[in-house]
């Protein structure tokens, strides 16, 4: 893990609402793994705390994140320009690859909204070894980012792209029609969606892991601010930033 000041390579709209910010970092490009995040100091003094972002893509010495403009931090980020620098700290957290083994054949990716972020990078690392099916859910089509993914199935709340309804409805429908060999679920998105999908996965006897979201002050285990409640086990809480962000959902008390 390192703290670096890195040059911005580009900032582009991937849809009307979602931006991709790419910066140059040999270090992160060579060390980051899918599912890990970086903690960005968005401005010099404002906002005060860093903001965590999943690693979206790694290409040679370039690393990128994707984001929606929703609040103070992302507003500042959206005004950055090529040639400026940003302060990044990472890579942080555990990664999806440590949940990949011989116990499954089909990797079922389920993303809600901007939760699609880690799956492009994960697809790159997995497509040689596993069957992949990717379910994307979003409010409407501007929230769907499908580039670099495989075997994509889309649900939008308003039906502006793909299936009209929730991603869970789409998964249920799809699983009733298709047979997937020994599936394992990988989730990222809003907690409510992940809880519902993990219940479905458990119901069909599949393993399921999820990248959990949580407000963070430090992102590196110093503040104890990012606790998540466990379902039994030796500790009541674990730290999302350090012991996660990815957990087996059966170990979580949603």
């Amino acid at each position: 893990m390192k703290q670096e000041i890195v040059p911005i390579h580009s900032l582009e709209f991937l849809s009307k609402e979602i931006l991709e910010l790419t910066f140059i970092s040999e270090y992160l490009a060579s060390t980051a793994k899918p599912g890990q995040f970086i903690n960005i100091r968005v401005g010099d003094n404002f906002p005060l705390l860093r903001r965590p972002f999943s690693i979206f893509n790694v290409d040679e010495n370039r690393v990128s994140i994707v984001f929606n403009v929703i609040g103070t931090g992302t507003k500042v980020l959206a005004r950055k320009q090529k040639g400026e620098t940003i302060d990044v700290l990472g890579p942080c957290g555990n990664d999806f690859l440590s949940f990949v083994d011989d116990s499954f054949d089909t990797a079922v990716f389920v993303a809600g909204g901007i939760g699609v972020a880690p799956f492009r990078f994960l697809t790159k690392k997995l497509y040689n070894n596993k069957q992949i099916v990717t379910f994307l859910g979003g409010r409407h089509k501007e929230q769907i980012i499908a580039s670099g993914l495989q075997n994509i199935k889309i649900a939008t709340d308003d039906g502006s792209q793909g299936f009209k309804g929730t991603v869970l409805d789409l998964i249920k429908d799809d699983f009733s029609k298709n047979m997937y060999k020994r599936p394992r679920f990988f989730l990222c998105g809003p907690t409510r969606m992940m809880k519902a999908v993990s219940e479905f996965a458990t119901g069909i006897g599949a393993d399921c892991c999820a990248s959990m979201e949580c407000d963070m002050a430090c992102g590196i285990g110093l503040c104890q601010g990012c606790n998540i409640e466990m379902n039994g086990g030796d500790k009541k809480y674990r730290l999302v930033c350090k012991e996660g962000t990815i957990f087996e959902t059966k170990n979580l008390k949603f």
Binding site: Q3, R41, N45, L48, L49, D215, L222, E229, Y237
Partner: protein, 313 residues
């Protein structure tokens, strides 16, 4: 340039410490910070038994600061001694064990266990904890209890004893005087300021415990005023804490009269803040003709005709 400072018999290599609860147990960030360059590390508050802490959400950002309600989550003193202290052996810095407890007896027991450890160089006592016997009211807001805790702990250790004071009282200097009278080697201030934030969409508090502790740049002016009040009341060293993110902030505390400073929330943004602060303070002293950082302490020029008591706001 002399950067070191002594409290009791313990010499800290510089006057910059990292604050309790903002740097883990000291072993979390070895690849980001060269801990040996810090004057010392104050541990997360340690209690007799491990504590799970409060439910989520525990933190929220506010204007130039943050609110927290961690609830003193910690691994417990025994595990600290068996798992953390041995790892810290390799760092050339001083370890100040911060203690939290829910009874006077618990403070004493935790201190006794730690006092036996060579690697623990001193103590900071967090009195901003609920006193279970008195229905959860904070020890730190009752001057008699702060006196009693200081007295009991003083009898049990010869190592530096620092009492960490809460700003959530009317006159913090009264508390500092009580600590001095009972033999404390220093006082440190301030702990977090009670605060609150509301989510207007859900109409709920933004942190699970409704109110929490405010920290960061937002509280620096409060901390400076409390340090100023305290250095005018006691002779023992005062350790300044609150909102320090840069060396300039630290210099303000030294000018006002702090003998040492602690870096808290800033560690979450830049874990190496303590080191850049130490370097900046040193350079400032060199540039201003001080051959000892100590010469900077309490150099505030004030208008002598207006005293703190007479001035109306």
């Amino acid at each position: 340039m002399i950067e070191s400072f002594k409290i009791g018999d313990v010499e800290f290599k510089n006057r910059i410490l990292v604050a309790s609860g903002t740097f883990g147990y000291g072993d979390e960030v070895p690849d980001l910070v060269d801990i040996s360059k810090l004057g010392g590390v104050v541990t997360k508050s340690l209690s007799m038994k491990p504590r799970d802490g409060n439910p989520n959400p525990r933190i929220t950002e506010t204007a130039s600061g943050m609110l927290n309600s961690i609830g003193l989550a910690n691994i417990g003193v025994q595990k600290y001694i068996s798992d953390k202290l041995p790892v810290l052996k390799k760092y050339d810095t001083k370890i100040v064990a911060n203690i939290a407890a829910s009874s006077v007896d618990e403070y004493c027991k935790v201190l006794e266990l730690l006092d036996a450890q060579q690697r623990v160089h001193g103590f900071e006592i967090n009195v901003s904890c609920p006193n279970v016997k008195e229905g959860g009211l904070s020890f730190g807001t009752d001057v008699k209890l702060v006196s009693l805790i200081t007295k009991e702990l003083r009898q049990r250790t010869r190592k530096p004893l620092i009492i960490k004071l809460t700003p959530n009282v009317t006159h913090i200097s009264e508390f500092a005087r009580a600590c001095e009278a009972e033999g404390a080697d220093a006082v440190s201030l301030i702990n977090t300021v009670i605060g609150m934030a509301v989510n207007i969409h859900k109409r709920t508090p933004k942190i699970a415990t409704t109110t929490g502790g405010l920290s960061g740049p937002a509280i620096k002016p409060i901390a400076l005023a409390k340090v100023y009040e305290t250095v005018n009341a006691v002779k023992i060293p005062v350790i300044g804490i609150g909102g320090i993110v840069s060396w300039e902030d630290a210099v303000e505390f030294f000018i006002v009269g702090a003998s040492m400073v602690q870096i808290g929330t800033a560690n979450f943004i830049n874990p190496a803040t303590g080191i850049t602060v130490a370097e900046g303070v040193k350079k400032y002293c060199e540039n201003n003709g001080f051959d000892d950082v100590g010469r900077l302490v309490r150099t505030l020029q004030t208008n002598k005709t207006i005293s703190i008591v007479d001035s109306w706001l």
